[in-house]
Symmetry: D2
Subunit: 333 residues, 4 copies
């Protein structure tokens, strides 16, 4: 039974608390948060204790910590937790600064503790099934990947300003999905971005709509499309053309009811946002973490994966500004 | 080159005129109609002559006639045309009277000329593909058949009154589809009907919504659902459960555009009515007739098929009235 | 907080234990089963006590019991539990004997305690959404209902023999769905059944494939199709034609991946069986029970609903044997 | 009645001959081809005469010519035909050389005759319905366009060598579709291409898989994906995200049959290639040409549209080679 400390008590921490509790191989022992009240409330709900982060990291009875705090604390907490001997599952992104993430990577390489980054979409039943079919050779060799990833509505501009920008905050999931499916990093990253949804987002120095093209050493190509606004719901699709066919992972819908009237044939919208769409993915992610930590086997997503995606976000940010393709090697220095 | 006389110049005759003209193996030579003006107009449009029915049947240069006149003339014209040595394609139904149709069957059995009944749905690309998959054993042995067949809007009550009733006029297509797919006639026919769409239809002695259950000697079951009104368009679907799977032939849609908005995900309606849905079927039907007549091979749908469907319509009409199942054998005497 | 005793510790009891525990308004206090080991194991898993049924019913601290024992004990336990002052949620069917269920109905009418029957499908998000759309008038007035309900594989013949037969054991869910959607009981019930899936099922006096047609006083019609075997998975669909459109609740699929190859365009199968398909429905069902009991409001499904569905199963059983329609009034006597 | 001369007697000329003949407002008078036998055969099939191109252009009784010859003859024939006073419908592309096409554009501007370029996809019922919905404001303001356009199999390398390359030969249709839907030309064109399908195509100096990103002055973005090989058939889809929703035009399928077995749920493939998919589009294109010429109104697609798409192909060709974005203005000089 894996004993777990949860760092953070916000909305996504609540999602993880449920997954930890429902998993038969793990128990939620303690919760910390800079907002003590939030920590107390979440802990009470799941029969855990509210403690300080310090107390959690120093408790030898705690085997693992789940880091669900704000992004600017991730690198520090990963370093402290692994130095304290804990296995770590940390929400994405590792950091907004590639350099800081790379420094963290070195610390972890030294202490040798397992760190998993929360790219939950790899565990979505649909994307996972697509990956399985690809690995089984069901469409031959991959050639052209397309990822569509639209949020239902943009966050407040106050959030945009501290988010690190669309490429680091939102598309980072899609960069990891590309790495997951393509199995190797791209050579070049070309981005175009615009603030057509809301000029205020442009005013804050960010884009709200973007297309990134990735090229690979062996000739493969990937395209990622992001928009901060798809009024019909969370649009999360992947499409991969291979030498022997096409794989598509389509949206999950709110229900399966279809209505035919004089106005046409109408079905339900996609599930609204990430909590609705990815709840099964969060559970499966946690189950994979527990299984790997308990068995001492390799984690399915690593800190290296987190750094790799961050490097692509950095390249895309630069490309969108310069209007020129960026070689990923130039970023990784 | 098959030289063809067309008896009838109404709407469905126009459909056939197109199919005859577009087929590289047949030519439309002459058209007749009780409305001379209609015959003249249709003939002119397709480069044919307007003639009397008499003249068409007596012309030794005409190889085949297509009968697209009113139902009450079908049996007579089939007998006259086959006695005159023509190959015949006659619109369904053979007759509203089973006895008259059976008498016609005997005449044709004597003169030995090929007569095909226009059950065009057998040639619909979707139903034909379903039948092919079934015959290839793709779902094992058939067990339970469902046919959904809804018209977009009811015809005028004046038409209802002379139509022979829903079972002979509308469901007869579905009886033939059941025979086509199941490959044998049922043992019992149980019908329920109601005039829930329009009480005036009930007032005219007919039903507008009906369900018929068919049982087969080997334990198979079929269900046919008819409604005179599906406001979203012509709903024509078939579904067949077998020992190793399910086959479904779904509706054809007006186009493939899908719109996702806050109101849901909306696609196009089914093609509106039989002319839109079954135009390819009419062409394929005619091509099959031409091919068989030219090759001297068996016709894919026969007068016997027409009589078999009519007997089922007769049984359903009786069952809907009595509320009791009817043995098909009792109808066929 | 509703304190709950669970009677039964089999597979479906486990499903309910999860729903009781996950619901923030209820706690699982005790579990009983004729197999003491099973009760102990299930109780331990959810932090409850294993007790005798007697002890549970006599414990004044227990507010409600969930009856998930074998069918032949349902009526007795409903009577004992309500006499002991408990609110009851009992798995379907109430009883295999209509007379016994009606006697139970009288007892409960006398003691006045709330009893809900576990027709979980009413709480399926898809069927519930269809019902909501219907109630909002989105397709006008209902005219023709079709329910397709196929199991993936037949149960062992040993089970068939004690099941009460397909109509009482399997189609009873669909009878309740018809009552739920149509809002009133039918006038006549006509059934045909066959043992085409497995002759051994026929040898046991039951059918494995059946079609039931229901007629309503106002002219509406419903058709229910059941098969014990759909090799592609659990096929659970509802379709309702109304004066202004059609509503369809389609199957839920294992995932949304679609593969296009030279062999065609292939998607996932329906979720395998009732546990996969109806898990959200079991949770929603329990939530509705807790909410109604806590608020003292009417339960959304009642013992009367259980008896009504059972009467239809009785009528269908008779109809399938006699080959004749059965008036529901003659059953309810 | 528009009297038409057809220049060219190859496969696509045959398609046009059918459309010309079936249209009630036009007649095919004469056919020419460098292969006299082919011209004779096609003419005979449609009741027309085989003549020399010279004779067709000099015949004052001929109102319009349809140019379906090899690409290298298009500009010359457009000039000669318009100088001879004919209305012209010319197959795409105008020319492989942008300069030559622009020279032709000037000649036509001088003689003032109507020239339509055969971008038939604008007349596809699906894309046309998408455009109509967009123009009606059904998804608000367009923001992000995606075009997927995959051929089922690559042409022979001998063809590739004279084709002008993927961007001029294949993607030119998609450039026109972008112009059609976006209503204005892009500012920049960025292309990546690879010969991952067949290295021999790369050996011939061309690519077989490509992604092009277009940016617009008002912040909109478009992405076009091309592959010379989608083994499952002709994949022709358009997707447009707007401020109030998403429009998608999906593939047309060979039929609507769906088969559910233990292997999954399988439907038909997309229609195989352009003749199957776009036959209705060719007819609608011709009908629009006839209507506009007869009415003397503006043609729905013009020679300017042909030059605009060609300029984008030129820009994409340069961008794919240099790896840098190309400003369209730099191409149009």
């Amino acid at each position: 039974m894996l004993k777990v400390g949860l760092l953070g008590a916000g909305r996504i921490a609540g999602v993880h608390a449920t997954a930890i509790t429902n998993n038969p191989g793990s128990t939620l022992v303690a919760v910390s948060d800079i907002n003590a009240e939030a920590a107390a409330k979440l802990a009470a709900q799941y029969g855990a204790e509210a403690r300080s982060t310090e107390a959690i990291l120093n408790d030898p009875a705690i085997d693992a910590v789940l880091i669900a705090t704000s992004t600017d604390t991730h690198s520090d907490l990963i370093e402290r937790a692994t130095d304290a001997g804990k296995a770590v599952l940390c929400e994405k992104p590792v950091d907004l600064s590639l350099a800081r993430a790379q420094a963290c990577q070195k610390v972890v390489a030294n202490n040798g503790k397992p760190v998993m980054i929360g790219f939950n979409r790899r565990f979505d039943p649909n994307f996972a099934a697509l990956k399985t079919a690809l690995d089984k050779g069901e469409i031959g060799k991959a050639e052209l990947l397309s990822i569509t990833s639209f949020d239902p509505a943009p966050p407040p501009v106050t959030y945009i300003k501290v988010s690190g920008g669309l490429f680091r905050d939102m598309m980072i999931h899609d960069f990891d999905m590309a790495n997951f499916l393509m199995g190797s990093a791209p050579v070049t990253v070309s981005a175009v971005g615009t603030s057509i949804v809301d000029p205020a987002i442009g005013g804050a120095g960010d884009v709200d709509t973007a297309v990134v093209t990735l090229t690979y050493a062996d000739g493969r190509i990937a395209v990622i499309k992001n928009s901060r606004r798809a009024v019909y719901g969370y649009d999360q699709r992947v499409e991969l053309l291979g030498s022997e066919g096409l794989l598509q992972a389509q949206n999950m819908l709110e229900n399966t009811v279809v209505k035919s009237t004089t106005a046409g044939v109408t079905g339900a919208k996609p599930t609204y946002f990430f909590l609705e769409r990815y709840m099964p993915a969060y559970s499966a992610e946690w189950a994979a973490f527990v299984a790997a930590v308990n068995a001492g086997t390799a984690l399915p997503v690593t800190l290296d994966d987190g750094v790799a995606a961050l490097a692509m976000a950095e390249a895309a940010t630069q490309s969108a500004k310069s209007g020129l393709p960026v070689a990923l090697a130039s970023i990784l220095g």
